[in-house]
């Protein structure tokens, strides 16, 4: 057998698969065989690189050349030029959005250069279906070290020293959580992984599960040893079929290798993991609702205490952490708590993965050390705002979070600074908004989401979110009344205080934070019946100014014949017929049509 001289890594995460990665993969197989190169080149499917915007992604080693948006038609050229002759196919290289410069290597792209990938280290670089590759990348060293050299108590102490806080949203110290559960008496305990990622725009958990499933299993096994559990559940939403497939595969492989199951690594420690597929209700990401769902009951939260560490799944002590939290654990036990704690700020340690979405050039996943500023994330890593528009705000933390305006872009990103700014870390979804976004409309969007996802168990959330949504809808339709803002604020505060679970308690956050920073927009909607961003259709109209030369283009594109006028004369829009689609304004070559 000849030596494998090159590796072709093709991302087959959900994003790249959707843009055609499987066809690219099949084409590579055909082309390599046709050129008799198959024996010396290895073809590897990987998980997500977090740069889905530019997919399908192909990386060729040893050079580390990074090809983007590869289509099946491009494959023959890559094989002929790069694999056979060693010439880079420059037209497929990544182009920096800001400088239009072509970058041949993965490590040199600005999007990756500023990142600090600990948790995402393996994503896109190993084959997630191969336990050998995971082990080759230092995998399963954690359990080996922990099981053979440490007592459960030492593991908990080590975890406390890291200062790691839950990555699912709440930010509760993970070491404390493990300690509470370890101290709970009882022979039967559970470890649960919350993979019910539901925030709009967040996809870091999916990428981790798809790209590095063994890391989650490893993190859970270490936790199980620390708290004395022998059974674990991964609660993953059924909308993530690839994540579930790869997790199942990883569990089977780990069991065959003796890294899960009975007598792990020859010790007396037993640990098995089950997968529970969730039906996609947002509220099931709340820990007590999630456990109810695993038990086969309706997914609804219950009051705490008792906390899961005392009475959790099937009334047994349980420890529940988010996917990203567990993904930090293998790294921690490889390098040690002290080394880990060097990263980040005083009260927020380590890194955080953010999902960049919205009006940003580089959509994707960015893992950065805690304490970096929002400006660095959006402009240095994210490549700035699409189409050269002006930045307006960034929504962080999904429907439970808040908006951060431009004047706070230099706030360090850590748990406490974000809460002080009226937002929260949440799961780390970042929705970037430009000047064309109406903040009242944004608040309405998120409220619409929480209102439909409210489980209905407690009145503040069930009724409160509905009433708030009604008021926001009225405001955007031009039916806002004097006093509405004050009413919204009062209602928001009562819901925050009275709702049963985090979903309800945080549901008013989008309203409160937009009111805090963009109160003038609410006032413009209510008192001037005007939408400054020009989004709320009921509040906008189009007018033709004196710049009109009477070319007649607008008349032609108007879908409802609302525009009249003679050729070479000034045209007019009939406001009763106009449906405010804006097509005329877009088409007018003389910029004679204005919104107002």
């Amino acid at each position: 057998m000849a030596l494998v001289r090159a590796h072709i890594l093709i991302c087959t995460g959900t994003g790249c698969t959707a843009s055609g990665a499987k066809d690219v993969l099949a084409k590579f197989e055909v082309e390599l065989k046709a050129k008799k190169l198959r024996d010396e080149v290895s073809l590897v499917e990987t998980g997500c690189h977090g740069f889905c915007e530019e997919g399908p992604l192909v990386i060729i080693y040893p050079e580390g050349t990074f090809y983007t948006r590869v289509k099946p038609e491009d494959v023959a050229e890559i094989v002929e030029e790069h694999i056979l002759k060693g010439r880079v196919v420059t037209r497929l290289l990544f182009k920096e959005p800001l400088t239009a410069e072509q970058v041949p290597n993965y490590d040199e792209i600005a999007f990756y250069k500023k990142q600090h990938r600990l948790v995402l280290k393996n994503c896109g670089h190993i084959n997630p279906d191969s336990i050998e590759e995971y082990i080759g990348a230092d995998g399963y060293e954690g359990p080996a070290k922990v099981l053979l050299e440490m007592t459960p108590g030492q593991v908990v102490e080590e975890m406390k020293k890291t200062g790691l806080r839950g990555r699912g949203g709440g930010g509760f110290p993970t070491g404390m959580k493990w300690m509470f559960c370890a101290k709970s008496p009882g022979p039967k305990k559970y470890v649960i992984c919350n993979a019910d990622e539901g925030d709009p725009g967040a996809f870091m958990d999916r990428s981790l599960l798809e790209g590095d499933p063994h890391a989650i299993l490893e993190g859970m096994a270490i936790c199980a040893y620390a708290i004395g559990a022998d059974e674990g559940y991964i609660y993953c939403r059924a909308e993530y079929p690839l994540a579930i497939k790869r997790l199942k595969q990883a569990i089977t492989q780990a069991e065959e290798a003796g890294l899960l199951g009975e007598k792990i690594l020859g010790t007396d420690f037993n640990f098995t993991i089950h997968i529970k597929e969730g039906a996609g209700a947002f509220v099931c990401g709340e820990e007590t609702a999630l456990m109810a769902s695993i038990e086969g009951k309706r997914g609804m939260p219950r009051p705490r205490p008792p906390f899961p560490a005392v009475k959790g799944l099937w009334e047994k002590p349980s420890n529940i952490n988010n996917v990203e939290t567990f993904a930090n654990v293998p790294y921690i036990f490889r390098v040690g708590a002290e080394e880990y704690a060097k990263l980040g700020t005083e009260k927020s340690k380590g890194t955080k993965v953010f999902a960049l979405t919205g009006k940003i050039n580089n959509t994707g996943l960015a893992e950065v050390p805690m304490g970096i500023t929002m400006r660095e994330i959006i402009f240095d890593i994210g490549g700035g705002i699409m189409g050269g528009k002006k930045f307006k705000a960034v929504q962080i933390g999904g429907p439970s979070g808040g908006c951060i305006p431009e004047q706070l872009l230099d706030t360090p990103v850590d748990y406490d600074s974000l809460i002080a700014a009226g937002a929260m870390m949440g799961s780390g979804g970042l929705v970037v908004m430009d000047e064309d976004t109406c903040m009242v409309d944004v608040a309405k969007f998120f409220l619409n989401f929480t209102q439909s996802e409210s489980c209905g168990k407690c009145t503040p959330c069930r009724e409160g979110t509905k009433r708030m949504l009604e008021m926001l809808t009225a405001i955007t339709e031009g039916k806002g009344k004097d006093g509405d803002i004050e009413k919204l604020e009062r209602l928001a505060k009562s819901i925050k205080a009275g709702a049963l679970c985090a979903l309800g308690q945080t549901a008013p956050n989008p309203i409160l934070s937009t009111l805090r920073y963009f109160r003038d927009e609410y006032e413009a909607h209510i008192y001037e019946k005007r939408c400054p961003a020009g989004v709320c259709t009921a509040l906008i109209g189009y007018k033709i100014t004196d710049k009109c030369v009477g070319c007649g283009l607008c008349k032609k594109v108007c879908p409802v014949d609302a525009i009249s006028g003679e050729p070479k004369g000034k045209h007019t829009i009939d406001p009763d017929k106009c449906i405010k689609c804006g097509a005329c304004m877009e088409k007018c070559p003389f910029k004679a049509i204005i919104r107002g």
């Binding site: 057998m1 000849a2 030596l3 494998v4 001289r5 090159a6 590796h7 890594l9 010396e40 290895s42 080693y61 040893p62 050079e63 580390g64 056979l84 002759k85 060693g86 010439r87 670089h125 190993i126 336990i131 050998e132 590759e133 082990i135 080759g136 230092d138 995998g139 399963y140 060293e141 080996a144 053979l148 065959e256 290798a257 003796g258 890294l259 690594l265 020859g266």
Partner: protein, 125 residues
């Protein structure tokens, strides 16, 4: 595969790392001229011979790369050997039969095979 101890785990790790060695660029390189001239003169067969020889000798820390035409087509197939900190040496014409000798003498032992040398490019460091 069954892992019963730390040694088992380390063994699998070492095996796996050999498989993925080609995922980074090594300082020791074999570079083969793969322009039209090189391919016409038989560079493909030379590359196959290089890969077989490296596999036979278990040399996993060598990157096999290609380059284009350097304008010395009559000397194709050309093959360069790069060892860290030493001059880059171009050999030509290299036929598959010469490959084991160049790899054994130069790549492994550091002795340049003078009778096949076309050029030496001084190491700038």
């Amino acid at each position: 595969m069954s892992i019963k101890s730390l040694e088992d785990l380390r063994k699998i790790k070492a095996d796996s790392q050999l498989q993925t060695k080609a995922r980074k660029n090594n300082d020791t390189q074999v570079i083969i001229g793969m322009g039209t001239c090189g391919i016409a003169a038989g560079a493909r067969e030379v590359m196959t011979a290089v890969l077989e020889e490296l596999a036979k000798r278990n040399l996993n820390n060598v990157s096999v790369l290609q380059t284009g035409c350097i304008g010395m087509c009559q000397k194709e197939p050309l093959m360069d050997i790069v060892r860290p900190g030493e001059d880059r040496v171009t050999y030509g014409p290299v036929y598959p039969a010469d490959v084991p000798r160049i790899i054994a003498e130069h790549l492994v032992n550091g002795n340049i095979v003078e009778d096949l040398v076309v050029a030496k490019i001084p190491n700038k460091e």
